[in-house]
Assembly symmetry: C2
Homo-oligomer: 332 residues x 2
């Protein structure tokens, strides 16, 4: 039971309680070698009893960093977070509400953060100005639109992913292939659709504009767009969705239309979230190495925090197609 005490314990108060000098307590706290075992044990016990926490920290030693999500509402976010936590940084999780705060940069500095990782976000000009002033390093993961030349960022090879997904469908024999993109403004979505176009052109298939549609990246977006596509006079035999979540929406629309996947409709997703393996049938999708992207961004930030210069401001990690059971040759 700690003795009555006003205010937080200090080295001096612990020293007085232990009957030793203040420097001795300092040595115990900092794990220095030259303290007699009995003295150390006695002092440690009092430190514990009083729940001593030093008032000064050594910010150079911890690598406390914020990771800022637009919203923590997607399995997508965990994948990135997992990678980030494996990069040796101590990661504080924030959601966008913090960022919309007028001086979130100042809040970071005041909170002792050494930098920030911003996920799928648009850094405003004001944000960038504030960051520049504070000299706080920031790395953007999967930026919504092209960040300034001087903002380090990590993404995936979206164009190559769109190409691979579409070529897979072409090789299976599909000719009427639709694509459901994400919001038109998103860089990553545009790149995927351009990859889709490139694959069709390479195969000598004309791009039919009625088969290129846009929705949100969420389940509802895929569901709504697929319903419209499947109601077309000449519906597609395959749909390339902009995200796994969208792809699940596409599959549900197919089920409700009485169509079997993959026999009546092939579906390809994008992301390869853990649950892509869990759908019935398991989803063929483009693997976006989200955890690796998080880890890479963490390492870049680590370097910046330590004053090192980045080899490259923009890193794109390779995507690759994972073939599961939601794609097959078209009927007839």
């Amino acid at each position: 039971m700690p003795p009555h005490q006003l205010g937080r314990p200090t080295l001096a108060s612990i020293a007085a309680a232990a009957g030793v000098s203040l420097p001795t307590v300092s040595k115990v706290v900092n794990g220095k070698a030259d303290v007699a075992p009995a003295t150390r044990a006695h002092v440690q016990q009092l430190l514990d009893a009083h729940n001593y926490v030093p008032v000064t920290r050594r910010p150079a030693e911890d690598l406390l960093v914020d990771v800022v999500f637009t919203a923590l509402d997607s399995p997508w976010a965990v994948e990135i977070l997992r990678g980030v936590t494996e990069s040796g940084l101590e990661v504080v999780v924030s959601s966008q509400s913090r960022t919309s705060d007028v001086d979130w940069v100042q809040a970071l500095v005041a909170g002792g953060r050494r930098g920030a990782l911003v996920v799928t976000s648009r850094l405003t000009a004001a944000d960038q100005r504030r960051l520049g002033r504070s000299k706080l390093p920031v790395v953007v993961i999967d930026p919504v639109d092209m960040p300034g030349q001087d903002v380090p960022s990590v993404g995936a090879t979206n164009w190559a992913g769109g190409l691979a997904a579409t070529e897979h469908l072409v090789e299976l024999g599909h000719r009427r292939i639709a694509v459901v993109g994400g919001p038109q403004a998103y860089l990553c979505s545009r790149a995927r659709i351009d990859g889709y176009r490139a694959a069709l052109e390479r195969a000598g298939i004309a791009v039919d504009p009625t088969l290129v549609v846009h929705g949100t990246f969420r389940h509802q977006g895929g569901y709504d767009q697929a319903q419209a596509l499947l109601a077309l006079p000449d519906p597609p035999t395959a749909i390339f969705a902009g995200s796994d979540e969208q792809a699940f929406g596409v599959m549900e629309a197919a089920r409700q239309a009485g169509l079997s996947v993959p026999d009546d409709l092939s579906v390809v997703g994008f992301d390869d979230l853990p649950m892509a393996r869990w759908s019935s049938p398991p989803l063929t999708t483009v693997c976006q190495p989200l955890a690796d992207m998080g880890r890479m961004a963490g390492r870049m930030l680590h370097d910046l925090v330590n004053g090192r210069v980045l080899g490259s401001q923009r890193m794109e990690l390779a995507t690759h197609l994972v073939t599961r059971a939601s794609t097959a040759p078209p009927r007839r």
Copy 2:
């Protein structure tokens, strides 16, 4: 461009550069009122240019806390994390590897953490001893086994959830209802299965031990156990799975056996993860308020950090059944 300078900037070095006294710089840093606007602007500019960060922090002010996951590999984890981040704490994410570290408690103290939230974990006796010594408050979320009386914890009403899921199936007319539990040692799993038994007994249906099986909470666990159950001479017409992920495995086993859900087999999950809405058909499941559990645990920890006494050491949040499209009356 900051002038050349050895080591990190201090109030004194900034004061010298600005041509003002050290206290004036201190006032600018701390946002005190009595500084002339021109002086403030000039000093602030130098602080920014040198990327000044004070060496001492006021740990009493921030509520930095660790949330420790066994593994950050499940969508389950985000749901809890989302709740925790909404509780007003600043949350550092750690994975179990940190915890297996010999003195993770000391690492927490050294890192300036004010407490910890431990998710689905077993606190060893050694852990609890160390925590007691450090006086660092801890709240456990969904503990694997019954924590000591003095360890605050948050869970869900698992028994009631098991009861509700099974009664729903009974009401639809099912009589051969199987349950796939999680690992036998898990408290939450035992409670759900006991709820299942209670529902059957209330309906006057004898519990058939061959229909009570155990697996991991993961997809594979559900898949393997469902395969075995469906191969029985007298297979079940409904399966209550221990988690949503398991339920997806059950649905995949059904699909591969040529069975349609819900026409040939009804499936109920447990958790109500966002993706329960995304399966085809959407999953009937027991909603476990994971985000609320995280928020509640965060609030309890907040209270403990501030020296308040908890009303109750153990909180159980209500579960409720969410009926979607994976359950229907049995055939014939």
